[in-house]
């Protein structure tokens, strides 16, 4: 079972962002969306560390470590971009000015619950801006792998890890499919090429409806 590559998932998520949207990208797989935006739209990327108008990753020799994204990787500023301090940056988030945020996740449930800050084990928990984003962004979407490295489903009915937020996730992009949490099931939006519905159902720890 293969499905979409990481870049194809990011490009698929980018395709759903409307022209004119203000968008925040979380750490990890969502960062890639910045480089794969559809060229026909003007989309303003917000980075929680004080950037509006975040551009693509620079060439290695043009790196400036005082111009980095939430994942601490070098980025650029588009013409017309702006810098601001952290309290203003999170006023944009908490004050419901961000139209869409795309986060990574350990687990998402069919009710839209998300866990992405504590693995529950010995590793120190790390919340960053995730709780602010799920509480404040107008729409929360997730890019994640469909299963753990051990093959256990990460799209499930009940969280096994501490929640970041409840009933907040509206859409999930994985290597197998695009799905919307719909209460007690995931509603299938699109299957990745070569993936059959029964394989998707088997890889998912909650009911999937194609209807």
């Amino acid at each position: 079972m293969k499905g979409w590559t990481r870049d194809e998932i990011a490009a698929r998520a980018a395709l759903d962002i409307p022209d004119g949207a203000y968008v925040n990208l979380g750490i990890g797989q969502p960062e890639r969306v910045a480089d794969l935006m559809p060229p026909d739209r003007e989309i303003m990327l917000h980075s929680e560390n004080g950037i509006l108008g975040m551009g693509k990753a620079p060439a290695f020799e043009d790196r400036d470590m005082e111009l980095i994204n939430a994942g601490k990787k070098p980025v650029t500023l588009v013409p017309g971009g702006a810098f601001f301090h952290h309290a203003d940056s999170f006023a944009m988030i908490r004050g419901r000015h961000i139209d869409v945020c795309i986060l990574g996740a350990f687990e998402v449930t069919c009710a839209g619950d998300i866990a992405n800050w504590s693995s529950g084990g010995n590793a120190p928990p790390a919340v960053g801006g995730a709780m602010d984003l799920v509480a404040g962004a107008r729409e929360v979407r997730v890019i994640m792998s469909h299963r753990t490295a051990q093959g256990r489903p990460k799209l499930i009915e009940q969280l096994t890890l501490p929640a970041t937020g409840r009933a907040v996730v509206k859409r999930v992009y994985t290597e197998l499919a695009v799905m919307d949490p719909a209460g007690d099931y995931f509603k299938l939006v699109e299957l990745a090429p070569g993936i059959h519905l029964d394989a998707l159902e088997q890889a998912t720890g909650a009911p999937v409806s194609a209807g």
Partner: protein, 238 residues
Amino acid sequence: MIDKRCATIAQALHDVHDGATILISGFGEAGNPTELIHALIEQGARDLTVVNNNAGNGEIGLALLLKQRRVRKIVCSFPRGSHGHVFDELYHARQIELELVPQGTLAERIRAAGAGIPAFYTATGAGTEIANGKETRTFGGREYLMETAIHADFALIKAERADRWGNLVYNKAARNFAPVMAMAAATTIVQARHVVEPGELDPEAIVTPSIFVDRIVHVPDPVRESDHLAALDKERAS
């Protein structure tokens, strides 16, 4: 005459006491006042509570302060880094206390202290483990947590340009927490790459007005954490 410039970095940090609460600016590498932190290591204060977004990277700046066992407690949102082994080891050995705070709540708790607001309500963290032990209140049918201001004895921050009165301008995303931290500490100490005379900074572009700044140290060529991390990687690979 107002002149907040200090002749030496040691002079700027001379009165940091054991047990002090210290705000340290920076997000990842951007905006870390590494030279001030190294001077704090030299100065010797211990049993510190440090507030920073992260918990240090490599063995430089905040990570080095932790490694020297000078920090009793760290308040941060994301104690994880590409080279976060110093904090990890202390955390697993239970030799450091961690208060994990969502990033926006961290920034606002610091801003609140600087603005004279003792507490505020936020939806961030409601219904999660972060809410444990916190007062909650419902506004318009939604649950909010009460979060309290974070006051500090000292703030150590990095600016691009300062004038001798303490007006500050930052560089790109290195601004991050510095403006709110400058407001929230009893004593705010700045390391600036350029120090100029009053009137040289565009008043429309000043980000931190001088009233929030107490001491300025000129550090024209600050160390780059990324160079240190690259050297650390090279050392490990060989």
